[in-house]
Amino acid sequence: MKYLKLITTLVLTLAVFFVLNTKLGSIPPVGKFLDPVNGVWQNDTGENITGELALDGLTAPVTIHYDEHLIPHIFAENDNDLYFAQGYVTAQHRLWQMEFQTHAAAGRLSEIVGEGAIDYDKRQRRLGMVYGAERALEGMKANTDAMNFLQAYSDGVNAYVNSLDEADIPVEFKLLDYKPEGWSMQKTALLLMYMTKTLASREHDLEYTNALRIFGKENFDKLYPDFFDTTDPVIPKDTDWSFITAEQTAIPASELPLDTIAETLPKPHPNNGSNNWAISAAKSATGNPMLANDPHLTLNLPSIWYVMQLSTPEYSAMGVTLPGALGVISGWNENIAWGVTNATRDLLDWYKIDFKDESRTEYKYGDGYRETTARIEEIKVKGAKTVIDTVLYTHHGPVVYDHNFSGDSELSGYAMKWIGHLGGDCQSPFLNLNRAKNYEDYKNAIKPYVAPAQNFVFASAEGDIALWIQGKFPNKWEGQGKFLMDGSNPDHDWQGFIPQEFNAHTKNPERGFVSSANQHPTDETYPFYVMNDGYDTYRSRVINNFFRSKDKFSKEDFKALQNNTFNLKASELLPYVFEHMDTVELTTEEQEVYDQIRNWDFYNDIDGVAPSIWMNWWPKLYWKVWDEYAAQKDVALDSPFTYRTIEMLTTMPNDEFMDIKETPETETAQDLFVLSFKEAVESLNEWKAENGDYNYQAYKATYVGHLLQGIPAFSRFELPIGGDGNTVNAMSQTHGPSWRMIVELSSPPKALGIYPGGQSGNPGSKYYDNFIDDWAAGKYHSLNFMPSNEANDGIMASQTLTPNN
């Protein structure tokens, strides 16, 4: 009996231990997690940053002052110490995010979240994300300074990781029950790949191939033009290109494969983009050049950005950094300011690969065959067996789609040629911008920059403004890469690159301002082929028209423009609709809603109901036009761009695409207006019955979600901010201005900045999301650009890192 009791209590004890020590489903290991000595309670603390720390790896003391926003101002004696400290300080506030984003880039999420992430990881491996990071590091090896800085940053992160007790590790590690693994140079390269994927992997090749096959060439050209009459390009229209001595690649005589592709990988967010602009001294109300930047991304907590000031005795730069990468990405120093928007181009192409036989060791190329190389991808999965995937590489790049992935034939596949796989040092250009003093320094800094291509806007205290569209761009033949190409035809390879000095750029243009908003880089006279990669057609025109509207501009004008919610898109369609739509058929209820949108001033403000009506109505109208696309269930297609759709609705109302194919009648644009409007009213009323009034704030329901599957408790919901994906204040439900910056090149420069988040990545910190309310309201924080290491009024804490002797 005694023994039975003993055994029972032993089993019970072990069972209790097991249950409380193990993560069960999404429930963290409860005992470990709730332990107030080491568990989550230890993360419920304020920022503890004041003090002195001795660390291995430093050569001289580094001082870090934190201001009221928890922005670190780092003062180091040399670059190595500076980047060491940047790593240390960033990890102090953003360690979990740094590791999570690079795990995501490398296709290693299954290791921490389990089976649910296998598909995601597999896609990342198929895209060759790690391969790209390896190539990038190889490319940087020659630059010993850059390698030293990367190593110093990595050492700094690891100095922090090694200092952590069980109790101190960030809460997300505790929730998911795993430990920080530390940093390496490869992780910085992976983070940059993550940005390249986000910003430079947009393409439509396979979808366009399907569209070409289904609708024919004539229709294709009608639906997908490369230029529009109203295009107001990044580089002003009157630019003289006569300095360009290289020529566009000639079109080879060859056939394109017209395969049917059922399913393609998810695409980056179509609104990934940004605004930036700079005005000359003459156009500025204060007489000092001014520059602004607001990158648009999917908003998350912790934010993608982290503000810092980085100083050595030689220079001092401030602005936003990317946790995991070195230096300031968008910011200013004593002499210049710079900012970036995405300069999207078609930098990802697909090639059809014909394997020699089922062993797939060789593929057809030219008159003979070339060998494939196999890369074995081991995807470790938490709580389950490791998944093995073999990805074959050709000289184009990885064969992403084959019979193991979305394909059906053992003898063919589709290989990807992508700028992200070409390597190149995309870190040093930013480090050199941080210390640039004038236009020449800026120009030289960005020269070697490969991807993701950016519109680098620039202004200097000397009075120059400029914008270079910088990246490595293949010199394509007219139409190259619009569709799937023949991987066995050498003429279909990228034939070379546009020489860097011929990248489109402008310096001190007559109009007194430079700007970019992801629109077409140039007009049709630029002598190289630029395909319409989904270029912006709205924000860019609002911005440029604004700067043409008067002579002088102030900081207040800049603020107003960044927060402008004028919906040019709606304003170009709705007046036509109001004129032509037959309202006789509307019920009284529908007529009420119709009157609401008729009285709209086209501003997407949070209090209005008209923006909600538009938000509901427009997609319904759009899909009535493109019902031919919706009907193709088993084929991957990308429907035409919004601008073209509105242009066709208003100028070709009787086009055959207006007809809804499944009805016996022949519809015109006018019919579509009524049909879609009736549906919109019905759906709005359903929404109203469930949720109350559809004012735009409630209806759009903007939120900033936590990086880890949007954990609601760590996210912020229903934010009071207007705008939509096509307004200058490009805030849709989850995607928008991830950082707003305005810099005046006075001496010293004065800067305003804010982002939707907070400096601390700890959901238990009051600095976790403390910028969000001001950001949503369109307010800015005046940033404390410290002239020297002397703590000034705004400093709330100081930390000293000293060498460990």
Binding site: K2, L12, N21, G31, L34, V40, W41, A713, Y768
Partner: protein
Amino acid sequence: MKAKLINFIVTIIIALILSQFLPWWSVMVAGFVSSLFFSLKKASVFFVPFLAIFFFWSVFAYVGASQNDFTLSKKIAELLPLGGNEYLLIFVTGVVGGLAAGVAALLGKQLSSLAK
């Protein structure tokens, strides 16, 4: 009564000391050890160490988090889900620690009675 008080205090002291070196299951060790040496009877075997650790964990949690206005605790209480009530989270924390200690104490009791 005295034995219960001694067990209660000893459990807390052992847990407090061990928690500096050991992970969360130090409270199980505390419950186990105090029951080996300060044996109790019937329901007290479980409930005295349970209450001791309930007290230790909930007070420890409360004191730390109250200085930060329960910023994170409220969010964790929403996530788990406990309706965003930080006091409920403190209660659950106490119960979890207490349960672990109480069960380990049952084992300690069985072992000590075996030795007699």
